[in-house]
Structures are given as structure tokens and as C-alpha cells.
């Protein structure tokens, strides 16, 4: 069997006429020319260089859509049956470019500008000023430090989730009931958790948890009174919400694990701890790493609980990068600087996650011998 050439076994190789190919090229370049012209006209109009233009950018959007359609049609006109293959991917690719790549590029452009919505002068390019401001911004780096702590705590959450998963995988009474019960916190919106737990149950005067703490001997059970305590309480509330997520993933992994391996270890005389540490844990590593990765992504977006419960306080002790950017954007209308902070955070996340994936790949290989 041939492993080269047209693996899709296109029925008709087609002999495309030069006129058709010319038409295809003309169509796509014509549409592109129209798009470029519309963009240029509107850009010059907005920049007040010319007086000719449109009320808004909508005609440019229509030009882009026309070009996208022309691009798709031109693939078929120029490449025939082969071109039709591109139609399976091209619309999705163009959609991604429109909804992800373009906004990202636009955000990058904004992030190097001084744009306070209250300013009379509007947006002004300010080079690296926002970067310099960020480097010297104690609130941003404090929030970043908090994120390191928040992220590190995922290891503790993972240990608890693993324990719960083992428990729910064991032959315990009312197992299905417990599985559903443990999942309940995940079903709650973090905003609901903020109000229900943070603002009500932990309320120092009438909150039931505060009353319980008082009954246990804590005279003034204030869960947000010191920076350390407030940070811990936020971590606990977030963990309470998301531990079930990790737990359910690990539980699925445990259930998919071949029983024979554990039985063989038992026959070989392994202790329960050895069976867990030498067999279960390594076999669960790929699932565990996936669960931790997804949890980290969730954690890096942590904002809603903080915004609702502590507003980042006391004194920035619970601030996350996202909650700080939210204040910079919403309360201070500081669009340029806020966007730069978000872009830098995105870059840090991408680098961090890439390194983490590489590291975890090595870890899995070392423990399981895979790859």
C-alpha cells in the first residue's frame, strides 16, 4: 500500500482551466483589496486625516466576511477537489482568527497605550510606560505573590481530593449518596459560595460557623480579621468548591484502573501503603496531572470569591491578579494599563503551563516508564 501521494483517494484529479484559476485568484485578491480599502478609509477617517468615512466599523466587518467567503470559494476554484478539503478547516480557522487572534492582537495594541476612559484626550500610545508602571506596582506584585501561594495550595487540595476519591472508591455504605453529596459544592456558583459561606455562614455575629467556633472556645471568631487568616479562609472556600472536581476525575481514574495489578501486588505480599504508593499512585499519575493542570487553570482565574468577600483585603492580603485587574478596569476605567496587566499575566500563564507540562511529562515517564 502506498504511503505517499493522495491518501484521501480523490476520485477525480481534475484538469483545472487557467481561466478558473485566474478567477479564483482574482476573487480572493479583489475581496482582499476591498477589505484593505475599507479599512484604510475608515482608519484615516477615525484618525481625522480625511473627512470621508463611515459612522462605525461595521462596513469593514462586512468586508472581512466577504473576503472570508471569497477565500473559501477561491480554494475550490483554484484547487478543485483538493481545495474542498480546505473548506472543512478554513471556516473554523477564520472564526478562531476573528474571535481569538484578532482580539489578542488588538489587546496587545491597547496595552501599550495610555487609555483612561475619563481622559479628555482619549487613547495615546505610551510605549513601555505601562510596563514600567507594572514593574513598580506593589499591588500587582503582591497579587502575583498571592497567586503563587494560591496555586501552591493545589497540592494540598490534590491530596485531600485523592483521599476522598479513595474513600468513595472503597466499598463504603451509601457510596452513591456520598458521591453526589461531595459533588454538590462544585455545582454552586462561586458568587453563591461567596455570599452563602463568606458573607453569611462565616459572619462573625450570627453566622452558624462563627457560632460553632465560639462554642468551641474561640472568643472572637473573625475569619477575615488578619491577613493570614483571611488568605487561609479564601483558600479554604475556593478549595471547598473545587476539590470535588479533582476528586471526581481521580475517582474515574481509580475505577478504570485494572484490579489485577493490585491483586498481584497483594499476592506478592505488598502492604496496603506499598500497594498505594508503588502501584496505585504511579498508575494514577497521568490522571492526577491532568486534574492538577485543569485545577491550576481554574485557580489562576480566581476572582469572584475575593471580589465579593474581601475586595482583596485586608490590605491586599487576599488579592488575586484577576481581582486587581478587575478593580483597575471597572473602578478606575484604566483600560490601557489594565490590558497590559492582563496580557503579561497571560504570557506568564502560558510559559508556566508549558513548563509544567514538560515537567509533568518527565515525571510520568519516570514513574511509569511510559513514552
Amino acid at each position: 500500500m502506498s504511503m505517499t501521494g493522495d491518501l484521501l483517494h480523490t476520485v477525480d484529479a481534475e484538469d483545472l482551466s487557467a481561466a478558473r484559476i485566474r478567477l479564483g485568484r482574482g476573487l480572493v485578491w479583489g475581496a482582499f483589496g476591498l477589505l484593505a480599502a475599507l479599512f484604510a478609509v475608515q482608519a484615516l477617517f477615525v484618525s481625522q486625516v480625511t473627512s470621508l468615512g463611515f459612522d462605525n466599523w461595521r462596513p469593514v466587518l462586512f468586508g472581512y466576511m466577504l473576503w472570508a467567503i471569497a477565500l473559501c470559494v477561491s480554494r475550490v476554484l483554484i484547487y478543485g477537489e483538493q481545495g474542498k478539503k480546505a473548506l472543512f478547516v478554513l471556516p473554523a480557522a477564520l472564526f478562531v482568527i476573528s474571535m481569538v487572534v484578532f482580539p489578542l492582537v488588538f489587546a496587545l495594541w491597547i496595552s501599550f497605550s495610555d487609555w483612561n476612559l475619563a481622559s479628555l484626550t482619549g487613547r495615546r500610545f505610551n510605549g513601555l510606560d505601562n510596563v514600567r508602571q507594572m514593574m513598580a506596582d506593589p499591588f500587582y506584585w503582591n497579587a502575583m505573590y498571592n497567586m503563587v501561594l494560591y496555586t501552591a495550595v493545589i497540592l494540598v487540595e490534590y491530596a485531600i481530593a485523592f483521599g476522598l476519591a479513595l474513600l468513595l472508591n472503597a466499598d463504603i455504605a451509601a457510596r452513591k449518596f456520598w458521591r453526589v453529596t461531595f459533588l454538590l459544592p462544585l455545582m454552586l456558583s462561586p458568587v453563591a459560595v461567596s455570599w452563602m459561606i463568606g458573607k453569611s455562614m462565616l459572619e462573625v455575629r450570627f453566622g452558624p460557623l462563627a457560632k460553632l467556633a465560639r462554642w468551641l472556645g474561640w472568643e472572637n471568631p473573625s475569619f477575615f480579621s488578619s491577613p493570614e487568616l483571611a488568605k487561609f479562609t479564601i483558600m479554604a472556600m475556593d478549595a471547598w468548591t473545587f476539590i470535588p472536581f479533582m476528586m471526581i476525575m481521580i475517582l474515574a481514574g481509580l475505577q478504570a484502573m485494572p484490579k489485577e495489578v493490585l491483586e498481584a501486588a497483594e499476592v506478592d505480599g505488598a502492604t496496603p501503603w506499598q500497594r498505594f504508593w508503588e502501584v496505585t499512585f504511579p498508575l494514577m499519575l497521568p490522571v492526577s496531572i491532568t486534574a492538577i493542570m485543569i485545577r491550576i487553570i481554574f485557580k489562576l482565574k480566581l476572582a469572584d470569591i475575593i471580589i465579593n468577600v474581601t475586595s482583596g483585603g485586608p490590605g491586599g492580603a487576599t488579592d488575586s491578579v484577576t481581582s486587581f485587574i478587575f478593580r483597575e478596569y471597572r473602578d478606575r476605567s484604566n483600560v490601557g494599563y489594565g490590558t497590559l496587566l492582563a496580557i503579561v499575566y497571560l504570557i506568564i500563564i502560558v510559559i508556566f503551563m508549558t513548563l509544567l507540562l514538560k515537567l509533568s511529562e518527565r515525571l510520568v515517564r519516570r514513574y511509569t516508564g511510559a513514552g
Binding site: A118, S119, N334
Partner: protein, 558 residues
């Protein structure tokens, strides 16, 4: 009127008035409405008195919350002023867009009802943009920044005037509108410069806002606490404080006492130590104005000539230090208490004995289900100070007239503005101003003060207690409620916040720094205040110092 207050009054009224009387009132109002609808000229000829009396009976105290039909009825009965200036069908074919709030199903909901008869009479059509409070600022600023103002009439708080009027986006009020809405009737602080920019008037006020002082009367009537006060070596009488010096002393003293109502730990003044989207800064302001607002100087936040912040001058630092000094005499979780907590979860729930807040506390004290202090709450204007900082002289002064009082006109209140985009079309412009004037009319505003609307009294005529009593309200209660507000509104040294662009940006960044000060992250109050000042300087530079100076001076009427 705030909803809670209305419900409380309604509840009280239902016990006192017989049903027949209430029904008769409603029928009379309905009759008046029908009659007036058929005789447009008659409404005005009868004078305001009859109309005011009639509208206050819609739906009638004790008859439940007003409905859309009631709002329309009131709108129709108050059309007299419109009819005097506008011919029937004059705005046929005109379409206007109105942007406002939908808080508590009030604001725009009422405006729709009030303006329906106006639309029917004038022939104009109004399209509505309803916004939640949280979305309001972002929507407004984005519309301004991106040049996409898509509304002709705007409901807006005075602090945003800098963003709108300061940028020339609003239409100047024509003289006929000033006459129609009887602007002279406004309480003192709502008169120019508020609502004006460079001498031009833009705002039709529909609301008033200020912080007043709420205190627990039972603390000051307690013989036990009074004795303990004497025993502690204090020479002065144990009476509600009138100065911040007394507030501080009482707060420190009360740490050793029991709350007379709940028999739990007693607390004095309650400071909100957590931010509230910029609104928390008003509460430090309420502590600071008596120190910082000198009667001879209109400014207290910035230097009008340079926009140099005053937030780190001795007066403001003293206010911050005052907070730090009594932090250990406040509830354990105060560091995480925002103004919502201090007002509704603490003071109204029986924790603490003194509080600065908007009128909502006074009304909720007797109406909220969770309030336990309804019968033991007293009101006054904000405390004064024995001495006041003279910023220009750089020294503390003791005034010959006694303590310096400077009520904090926090947020100033809602208003109706017409956007400049109607300027090119005279018919549209007149229609927009006519609609706005209808909403800001003298009689209509009385109804809004007396029934749930989201707006507080803001005209001298709203404080005619007999009018309220005639409508069936309890005199003692309404007198107590209104006088605390009237005294603040009409105070000659009221501290009125600057209506400059981005004012909430200043407040927001100050909240962040204050949180650090309260958490002990700065070496001193001065150091923290300097950090606020530095952040404010950055904002001023970013928005544009020269334009901010010009707008600040304009907002002060300089």
C-alpha cells in the same frame, strides 16, 4: 422616597386609618385624575395646592405600593406645566432615547409611567435603555470614550458631571425649563455651582443625597452608662456627641460597657474599613470634612489651582489617625466590614452606637425586618470639630462661632441631563428638555419624595411637614427623618464633592491604600496618606492636569 421607609409608614398607617377613609381618598384621587385629564387647562389654574394634595392620595397611604397605573395617573395630573409650554401634538414624529437605571424596579420604571401621558399629549416617542447600577458607570464611560453616545436623555449622578458636562456632551438648560421646574425651590446645596459648568446649567435635580449622623438614643439615656462615664473621670455630660472629638472619646469609653439593648459588648462609632467600589471613601470623607472643610475655602480635596491633593494634609491625616485610634474599640472583624456591613449588618442589627450613612439608615431603622434599633435611633447632621484646618494658612484654627460643621454631601444625588446630540434639531431638543422638565417638576417631585421612587427629598417645598401630615403621615416620625436631612442640605459649609472626570477612580485607588493603612502596612497615617496623594497625582496626570484644574474650578464655581 426610599422603599423601606414607605413600607414602614404604610404599615403604621394601615393600623390607624379606617378602610373607608382610604377608599374615599383613592376614589377622590381617581375622580380628580379623570377630571384633570378632561380639562387640561384647569389643572394649572387650580394652582399647585390642589394638585399636590390630590397626587399625594395616589394610591393613598395604606393602599399598597404604587403601580404603573398610579405612576401614569400622577404623570397625567402633573402635566399642567408641560401643557403651559407645549402645544398638543407639538413633538409628533420625534423619537428620544432615555438611559437610566432599573434599581429595585424603580427609576426608569417610574419614568416610563410618568412620561406615558407626556408622550400621549406631545406625540413624541421614548425608547428606553435600562441599566443595573453595577453596569452603569462602565456603560456611560464606554459610550463617552468610544464616541457612541446613543441616548438623548440621561439619568446620572452628579459626580459624573465632570465626565459628561465637562466634556461638552450635555445640552445647556433653556430658560423656559428653569422656570417650569422652579429651580429656586431647590435646597441650598443643589443650587449652583452644582448642576452647572462654567456658569451654564445642565442638571435637573430629581434627588438629594448626603451623609447624616445616626446614633443610638438608648446608649445616651442609660443611667448606668452615664454613671460609668462620670466614674471614668469625665466632666462632660453623657449626651449624643456633636463633635468628632466627642465621638472618639465615647467610642474609646464604650469599649468597657454593655449594649443596653442586646446586653452584648457595647461599641461606639463604626468605621467601614473595607472598600466598596469607591463608595467607601465617602465614609472617611464624613470623618474628615469637619477638619478639612474651612468655611472660607470651597475646596477640601484638592488645591483648585494645582490639583495637588489635600488628602495628605493635616486634616485628612487626622481623620485617618482617628480611625486607627479606635480600631481596637470596634468589632473584631471590622477590617472586613464595608459600608453595607456597618450599616445593615451592624448598626441596624444592634451592634455599635454611632454611624455616618445616607438616609437609608434612618428609614430602614424602623422598617427593615432585621433592624432592632427602630425605636432607639436618633439623627443629626454629621459631628463637627473644635478646630478646623486652614489649608491656605497651614494651621489649625478655632472658630469664634464654635465647632466647625461641614456635612458631607456624598454623591449629591441623581439628576436628569439632556445630551448635546439633540442640539442640531430644535424640535428634538425642545422635546428632550420638556420630557426632562416633566420628570423634574415641582409637584411630581413631591410625589417621588412621599412614595417609593429611589429618590430623597431635595426641594425646600418637600420639607413642608403639614403637607405630609395632611397626606396621612405620622408627624413625629416624618419630622425627625426630614429635619436631619434638611439641616445637612441647607448647611452653609456643606462639603460638596468635586464633580470632576474620573472622581471614582480617585476614590477607588484611595480605598486600596486605606486598606493597607488599616492593615498596618504603612509606618504611619501620614505615610499612607502620602501614598494616596501620589496615586491621585498619577490619575490627575493621566486624565490631564490642566483640564482637571479647569473642571475642578468650574465645579467649585470659581
Amino acid at each position: 422616597m426610599k422603599v423601606d421607609l414607605y413600607e414602614r409608614l404604610v404599615a403604621k398607617q394601615a393600623n390607624r386609618r379606617d378602610v373607608l377613609k382610604g377608599t374615599a381618598g383613592a376614589v377622590a384621587a381617581l375622580g380628580a385624575s379623570t377630571m384633570l385629564a378632561g380639562m387640561p387647562g384647569k389643572a394649572h389654574a387650580d394652582g399647585h395646592a390642589n394638585i399636590r394634595e390630590a397626587i399625594l392620595k395616589i394610591p393613598g397611604v395604606g393602599q399598597g405600593s404604587p403601580t404603573d397605573a398610579d405612576w401614569q395617573k400622577v404623570g397625567e395630573m402633573c402635566l399642567g406645566a408641560t401643557k403651559a409650554n407645549i402645544a398638543e401634538g407639538e413633538f409628533e414624529g420625534v423619537e428620544l432615547t432615555f438611559m437610566g437605571l432599573n434599581n429595585q424596579n424603580l427609576h426608569n420604571f417610574l419614568f416610563r409611567g410618568f412620561l406615558k401621558p407626556w408622550e400621549a399629549y406631545t406625540g413624541a416617542k421614548i425608547n428606553w435603555i435600562d441599566l443595573a447600577q453595577a453596569d452603569y458607570n462602565a456603560r456611560l464611560q464606554q459610550a463617552i470614550a468610544t464616541g457612541t453616545v446613543d441616548f438623548d436623555i440621561l439619568e446620572m449622578g452628579a459626580p459624573f458631571e465632570g465626565d459628561v458636562c465637562g466634556k461638552g456632551l450635555a445640552s445647556e438648560m433653556p430658560d423656559w425649563v428653569k422656570a417650569q421646574i422652579e429651580m429656586d425651590d431647590y435646597v441650598g446645596y443643589l443650587k449652583p455651582p452644582v448642576g452647572t459648568w462654567e456658569g451654564k446649567t445642565y442638571r435637573i435635580s430629581i434627588d438629594g443625597d448626603c451623609h447624616n449622623f445616626n446614633y443610638r438614643t438608648d446608649y445616651y439615656e442609660s443611667a448606668e452608662i452615664a454613671q460609668a462615664w462620670k466614674d471614668a473621670g469625665n466632666d462632660s455630660d453623657w449626651a449624643p456627641p456633636t463633635t468628632w472629638q466627642q465621638v472618639q472619646a465615647h467610642t474609646k469609653f464604650l469599649k468597657t460597657q454593655k449594649d443596653p439593648l442586646t446586653a452584648t459588648q457595647a461599641y461606639g462609632y463604626l468605621d467601614p474599613l473595607k472598600g466598596w467600589g469607591g463608595f467607601g471613601f465617602y465614609f472617611l470623607g464624613s470623618r474628615a470634612t469637619a477638619y478639612a472643610k474651612h468655611p472660607d475655602d470651597p475646596a477640601f480635596l484638592f488645591d483648585p489651582d494645582t490639583m495637588k491633593p489635600r488628602v495628605n494634609n493635616e486634616a485628612w491625616v487626622r481623620a485617618i489617625q482617628d480611625v486607627l485610634d479606635v480600631m481596637d474599640a470596634q468589632p473584631a472583624d471590622q477590617i472586613n466590614a464595608d459600608p453595607g456591613t456597618t450599616g445593615f449588618q451592624q448598626f441596624l442589627a444592634g451592634t455599635g452606637s454611632m454611624l455616618s450613612w445616607w438616609g437609608d439608615i434612618g428609614s430602614s431603622a424602623k422598617t427593615s425586618d432585621s433592624s432592632v434599633v427602630g425605636d432607639v435611633t436618633g439623627f443629626s447632621i454629621l459631628p463637627g470639630s473644635d478646630d478646623v484646618w486652614n489649608h491656605n494658612e497651614g494651621k489649625w484654627e478655632t472658630l469664634a462661632s464654635g465647632p466647625n460643621f461641614a456635612p458631607n454631601m456624598a454623591y449629591i444625588g441623581w439628576g436628569i441631563y439632556v445630551m448635546a446630540r439633540v442640539e442640531g434639531d430644535e424640535k428634538k431638543k425642545k422635546a428632550a428638555w420638556s420630557a426632562a422638565a416633566h420628570l423634574g417638576g415641582k409637584d411630581l417631585s413631591l410625589w417621588c419624595s412621599a412614595y417609593p421612587s429611589g429618590f430623597q427629598p431635595y426641594r425646600q417645598s418637600h420639607f413642608n411637614i403639614q403637607e405630609w401630615v395632611g397626606a396621612g403621615y405620622d408627624e413625629a416620625f416624618i419630622n425627625d427623618y426630614l429635619s436631619s436631612e434638611a439641616d445637612s442640605y441647607n448647611h452653609p459649609n456643606a462639603a460638596i464633592e468635586p464633580r470632576i472626570p474620573g472622581i471614582f477612580q480617585y476614590y477607588s485607588v484611595a480605598e486600596d491604600e486605606l486598606a493597607k493603612i488599616y492593615a498596618g502596612q504603612y509606618g504611619s497615617a501620614q505615610e499612607g496618606a502620602d501614598a494616596i496623594a501620589a496615586a491621585w497625582e498619577k490619575i490627575t496626570d493621566q486624565i490631564g492636569r490642566e483640564s482637571q484644574i479647569a473642571l475642578y474650578r468650574a465645579s467649585l464655581g470659581l
